[in-house]
Symmetry: C2
Subunit: 205 residues, 2 copies
Amino acid sequence: MSLSFDLLPHKPLIIVISGPSGAGKDSVLHEMKKRNLPIHFVVTANTRPPRPNEKEGVDYFFVSRERFEEMIANNELIEYSAVYKDYKGVPRAQVEKALQSGKDVVMRLDVQGAKKMRKLYPQALLIFLIPANEEEWMERLKKRAGQAPADLELRILKAQEELLILPVFDYVVVNPQYKLSQAVDVVEAILKAEHHRTSPRSASL
Amino acid sequence: MSLSFDLLPHKPLIIVISGPSGAGKDSVLHEMKKRNLPIHFVVTANTRPPRPNEKEGVDYFFVSRERFEEMIANNELIEYSAVYKDYKGVPRAQVEKALQSGKDVVMRLDVQGAKKMRKLYPQALLIFLIPANEEEWMERLKKRAGQAPADLELRILKAQEELLILPVFDYVVVNPQYKLSQAVDVVEAILKAEHHRTSPRSASL
């Protein structure tokens, strides 16, 4: 008789956490890391100089522009983008290694990056974070824009545009500023559920 | 600016808990009921006489054969089947009322009933329970077969056949006999995740 466990091969997932600017992607990632889930969190390669509190290999891999362009040329990145004058990208070897060890891989991408991931890896699991309401959203965008009203206007326009990409995603999770753990509970439930699909997403690169 | 909550209309789900004979469907349902989730558990109509511990309207609606055949004729049942000499079926009005109140609706069906539901309501959420291993499974099937070896053989054959219907389902959940709450945790996670899909299943009948 065919055994139940054969029906449930564990397949690691590639999970993209994204959402418009000001949705609180970093806070959700931060809270997820604190929960000690059996997940590999991607450490992104970045060409900008480290900030005082940032640690090499923990927050980012800080690489030179030359090295980054070499990585692009050698197809060492799954996905990359230019952020102002700098580059940011997801190292392929790191993700492959984690998947081979059976771990789910979580990466934080902006909505354009998430859209690219959907095309490159249709089997990726895409989660879209949204702020709980307009007030919280504006508050976060204002903080980032600082004192420049023109900058704020641009950020609002961009964030509104980013909302339109929602249908590309599999799930949408509200991220209320003062109830962060609720959002992370939902993300955890999504990962748990996805591991019980009868037609699992295969997660090789 | 478009508000986040507009993106998340709450749509109630139609959930079918099924699986081969001996998978422990009743135990899972029983444990779910104990958790006081905001769910309507379908009370099935049944033509067999109530057992001593069974309550009308709680365990089943006990109806006469004549009344049941009238319900069939009037299209009052979403799904029904003949069980030996008796009928069992899901009352449509009950499910519609629960969905209209915004509640998820859970029903327990055998795999043939679940297959029928998939055809009738492609948007239904189908969960397939399986025993954790062959030993536990045999143990449960033996209990049901009682002392008749021929009966046991038939039950095993039928259960094996039922396993083949798995691909019709959305999710598969292992139900370990002595860790029932684990299975129910997964079912809860599935429901939570499903309420966060970007393309929700619409749950009208």
